[in-house]
């Protein structure tokens, strides 16, 4: 049999996007996925007989460009009609509902402020948007192309105009809390709008430098960061990507874990020549493209013996500890949230920014939040295939749940935070307990073992100023090429970063095909 052009390690959404594009580029592509089904963190899992859920329970800002280039719609991807509103739950039943252009449940002053806030943030997000789908220039004696990229980046900021540019330079590094304090008076609104700047990262409302950039990153697409549940749930996207990749001729082999990336030293020096699977099978290829996180790729799969020590140190330095736990509840009925007509949307349990901050404080010392904050959805409301008729799935992102729990993760510890989370939900949805027929709590440590993501980190490595743009994951590997010729990265650990937008895989494929 003839040799593969590219072997892609991991069939997460970035791996699949990359596979599809390479296959379309005429390459013979093999995608190896350790799990039984593709999808990575976006794969669905049956956590209770008949009930399935995905770690990524909703999708925000999957790149329209990627979807267009891959004609995903013709493979059955339907981003879902009306985006989910963001609903900040209040124990006094004065819920705040944030939708794309308006907010309800707050004072007139706040809703006016929200419109201005939205307009300005959208403008900033648009200024940054071109960065995300570009390959970052390499610092130093750069090629003309690199210099042009820098010039373009500078210009798109300058284009904002004097006052907006000044505001951008100030706001970009602001802690979420300060940004909110400046605009709004409603505590619940402040907390709700901070949420997307924090979740998935080791950041709290008072943490400077990165959370506003995270918000803007998530607002880059037309959805402006609002989430939607595509037809068939998050897995609808994965299914479409899989069909698309396979239609292009890519071969996807699930249940095949990669143990090592084969690196051979010919007279031309070290190059990646293929992979060795867990079963010991050796598969040769022109190049290996890893959708796995940088630490797993370089430390585990390649092995430090093939890398320069300085580079290894930088990879080891990457901050990869996740802080988000995942709660799945199987419910035989629609839970009733007091004061809410229908639990349709992303329901936030975070009464004020301090509640988030204080929840974070516990995690700094290696314990779970005493009073966890969380985001709930009932994906089954949009996708009946997830649960038996009349039954429903509640899916919650719970913060803050440290990957490295003091004393280590035990079933008792998992049970405790699970119980605490349910108790917290109960305060807003009394009686939900009677509906529970099955439950599961995934800690970041579980995500690490089940989905092979170091630290169970959503974005493979922290989305922070020192780990983004030409620093993601670190210099020497920030242009999708790595110090090992023939080895490329295409996962969330490289520019632009995590979330289900497919850009990392998209950019990587472009570089490889060049």
């Amino acid at each position: 049999m003839d040799r593969y052009d590219s072997i892609i390690v991991g069939a997460g959404h970035n791996g699949l996007v990359c596979a599809a594009l390479l296959a379309r580029g005429g390459q013979k592509v093999l995608v190896l996925e350790a799990a039984a089904a593709p999808g990575g963190l976006a794969a669905t899992r049956e956590f209770h007989p008949g009930y399935t859920a995905s770690v990524a329970h909703s999708i925000s800002g999957f790149s329209a460009a990627v979807s267009r280039d891959l004609e995903l719609s013709s493979y059955g991807y339907n981003p879902g009609e009306n985006p989910l509103p963001l609903i900040g739950l209040s124990e006094s039943q004065e819920h705040v509902t944030v939708s794309r252009d308006s907010v309800s449940g707050v004072s007139d002053a706040d809703s006016r402020a929200y419109r201005d806030y939205r307009r300005r943030m959208a403008k900033f997000a648009d200024a940054l948007k071109p960065f995300w789908s570009k390959t970052m220039p390499r610092i130093g004696p750069g090629s003309l192309r690199d210099l042009l990229t820098f010039a373009h980046m500078g210009w798109s900021i300058r284009k904002l105009g004097k006052s907006d540019m000044q505001e951008f330079m100030r706001v970009a590094s602001l802690p979420a809390r300060d940004l909110m304090e400046e605009q709004f008076s409603s505590e619940l609104l402040k907390a709700s709008l901070s949420w997307d700047g924090l979740i998935g990262s080791r950041m709290a409302p008072r943490s400077p430098n990165s959370s506003v950039l995270m918000m803007l990153y998530r607002m880059a697409e037309d959805g402006r960061g609002l989430h939607s549940i595509p037809a068939g749930g998050a897995s609808g996207l994965i299914a479409a990507l899989q069909r698309c990749a396979e239609a292009a001729g890519a071969e996807i082999r699930c249940g095949t874990a990669v143990r090592k990336i084969a690196v051979d030293g010919g007279e031309s020096g070290l190059t990646a020549t293929g992979v060795t699977t867990a079963a010991g099978e050796q598969i040769a290829a022109e190049r290996v493209v890893s959708a796995a996180d940088p630490q797993r790729t370089f430390i585990d799969l390649v092995g430090v013996e093939h890398l320069d020590i300085g580079f290894t140190n930088r990879v080891r330095r990457l901050r990869c500890d996740g802080l988000v736990g995942k709660l799945h509840l199987a419910l035989d009925g629609v839970p009733e949230f007091t004061g809410l007509d229908a639990p349709r949307g992303r329901l936030l349990i975070a009464p004020n920014v301090d509640a988030i901050e204080f929840a974070y404080d516990d995690s700094k010392y290696g314990s779970c939040s005493a009073e966890p904050v969380m985001e709930l959805t009932l994906p089954s409301l949009c996708d009946s295939s997830l649960a038996p008729a009349g039954s429903h799935v509640l899916s919650a992102h719970v913060m803050y749940v440290p990957a490295r729990l003091k004393g280590g993760w035990t079933d008792a510890a998992r049970q405790a935070i699970c119980e605490r989370s349910i108790a917290r939900i109960e305060r807003y949805a009394p009686g939900i307990r009677d509906l529970i027929v099955g439950q599961e709590f995934l800690t970041p440590a579980d995500l690490e073992s089940d989905y092979r993501v170091t630290g169970g980190h959503w974005h493979h490595t922290e989305f922070a100023m020192d780990q983004m743009l030409m620093m993601r994951p670190t210099y020497g590997a920030a242009q999708y090429r790595t110090p090992v010729p023939g080895l490329f990265l295409c996962g969330a650990g490289c520019h632009p970063g995590g979330d289900l937008n497919g850009l990392a895989g998209y950019n990587a494929a472009r570089e490889i095909l060049e």
Binding site: I139, E167, M169, R170, N209, D361, Y365, A464, M465, D466
Partner: protein
């Protein structure tokens, strides 16, 4: 007809420096000060007969050498003495002794961790290297990145070149350093928690961030980028207390025929057709001048001594949103003798330098958590110095004066406003902790001054008692300080300038803010520049 060319509001060290350089250029300058003493936060006061209290700032390192020499401050009585031998006290009985002798220091570190002993040299070299870049900008006016004026473009190019020439590796290290948390930064070097804590302490002093907060490693750098006699990162004491610095600058100012008027608080800046034309004092006196320089912090300047009506739209709001958070306390103690600390060998240096009470990063961070919740920690971080061990002029013979700086202390308490009782309770917390490490300490106390952010704000006028005149976070640094678009010392009202630490390069007794402001003013007046270039004979 103006009676003065320039009026400077506030006789802090930056205000005095600014006035000195304006006077040196031949301007008729008046400095007005609300207190009956000068110096602002760089002050020595005899609160107890025979003792000179450096009530606020207590050690000096950031003073720009170029200014020191240019104003000939030594001739005006300024003598800076580097102090040695800091002892860090662990939560238990561990001690980390900082010997001045390199080998002794290395052995001491080795006692705690051989790994860290080796890492220390690398750590200090890196820190020094990072500080070089910022040091280059201290006596320069930040460019306005939104402007197309040749001067700004040239300055931007200068910075871009300086930064670019660092190369990929260094830029990566810098970006990490400038944006990450002190704790994460230290994790790259050290394993021993006590050593980390000792090294982290400059990263929290004066800031409303914790050691685990992103951005705190910059604060760490801000505290070590100074120098004493050219040794970067060294800390010194001013003979006669911090007031000696202000007094020497004041003496320089007077030698250029500048005037200082104390007990002359400004009630309002006079503005006529969008130009600052003078000030109205609290006693009603009106003094007119061509130029008004505010040495107060940005928030106080625009929300307290100016009419909202006199300001262009949006400035008042900008000032209201200016982040200036009180987070520090101070307990100044007159002692009848030198306190003896347990577990510290009797070494001529060790008992004379500073003491750091910071057992672990977690203890420091938990103190920050308390601050967030509007209380102070029962186990606060304390940095102490006993200047009288080096300087006989600040306490009577055989007696001593001790400065204790406490992080964190909230500007507002969860259970209502500060009261004298609460203030004393705070002081009690501090001396209780000191007593733990030095049995019998309390019996040595002759007199004690406790200063929470509340006192600091009311006595010195620093909003919320923030010692930097504004948080040192990226959104308020360099050309963003105090607000984007106003990073060049000119304020939105014509002929109004700012010279305090609310401007670049920020807090610390550096005199750089005042000097930079003077350079800009003289440029606008088309006068020859009297402000020196910074020089780096140490690099």
């Amino acid at each position: 007809m103006s009676s003065y060319d320039a009026i400077v509001i506030g006789a802090g060290h930056n205000g005095l420096t600014n006035a000195a350089y304006l006077a040196k250029a031949g301007l008729k300058v008046l400095v007005v000060e609300k207190n009956d003493y000068i110096g602002g936060a760089a002050v020595s006061r005899e609160l107890q007969e025979g003792w000179q209290y450096s009530s606020c700032s207590y050690v000096c390192s950031m003073m720009r050498q170029a200014i020191h020499r240019d104003l000939d401050l030594s001739r005006h009585g300024l003598l800076l003495v580097p102090y040695l031998g800091t002892v860090n006290f662990g939560d238990g009985d561990e001690r980390l002794l900082a010997y001045h002798d390199e080998e002794a220091a290395h052995l001491e570190l080795k006692r705690h961790s051989p790994h860290d002993a080796d890492a220390m040299h690398r750590f200090q070299t890196d820190l020094t290297r990072y500080s070089q870049l910022i040091r280059k900008t201290l006596l320069r006016t930040p460019p306005d990145p939104t402007s197309f004026r040749p001067r700004d473009i040239m300055e931007l190019l200068f910075l871009a070149r300086t930064f670019w020439s660092l190369g990929e590796k260094e830029i990566y290290e810098y970006v990490r350093f400038f944006t990450m948390s002190a704790a994460e930064f230290l994790d790259d070097y050290f394993e021993n928690d006590m050593i980390k804590a000792a090294m982290a302490s400059p990263g929290i002093i004066g800031t409303a961030l914790g050691v685990y907060s992103p951005g705190s490693s910059y604060i760490l750098l801000h505290h070590v980028m100074g120098d004493v006699d050219g040794s970067i990162g060294a800390w010194g004491l001013a003979r006669g207390g911090m007031g000696a610095i202000s007094h020497s600058i004041a003496s320089a100012l007077k030698s250029y025929d500048g005037e200082i008027r104390t007990e002359a608080g400004v009630q309002k800046v006079l503005v006529e057709d969008r130009k600052a034309v003078g000030v109205v004092l609290e006693n009603g006196d009106e003094i007119r001048s061509d130029i008004v320089v505010s040495n107060l912090d940005a928030k106080r300047t625009f929300t307290k001594i100016m009419d909202k009506a006199d300001l262009p739209d949006g400035i008042y709001e900008k000032a209201k949103n200016f982040k200036i958070r009180g987070s520090s306390g101070k307990v100044n103690i007159a002692l009848s003798g030198m306190p003896k600390f347990t577990g510290v060998p009797d070494n001529p240096y060790l008992n004379r330098g500073g003491q750091g009470f910071c057992g672990s990063l977690e203890t420091m961070e938990r103190a920050y958590d308390c601050w967030k919740r509007g209380r102070w920690s029962d186990d606060p971080f304390i940095e102490s110095v006993i200047p009288s061990a080096w300087d006989p002029t600040v306490a009577p013979p055989g007696k001593h004066w001790m400065s204790n700086f406490i992080q964190y202390c909230p500007p507002k308490l969860a259970d209502g406003p500060w009261t004298p009782e609460k203030r004393d309770a705070f002081g009690q917390t501090v001396i209780d902790k000191l007593e733990r490490y030095s049995p019998g300490f309390k019996d040595l106390i002759v007199h004690m001054e406790v200063r929470t952010p509340h006192e600091i704000e009311n006595e010195i006028g620093l909003t919320e008692g923030n010692i930097f005149q504004g948080e040192l976070t990226i959104d308020q640094l360099f050309f963003n300080r105090p607000f984007p678009g106003y990073g060049q010392y000119r304020m939105p009202v014509k002929n109004l300038y700012m010279s305090g630490s609310s401007t670049h390069p920020g807090g610390g007794v550096s005199a750089a803010c005042g000097a930079n402001a003077a350079r800009e003013i003289l440029m606008d007046l088309k006068r020859p520049n009297t402000v020196p270039e910074d020089d780096f004979y140490d690099e």
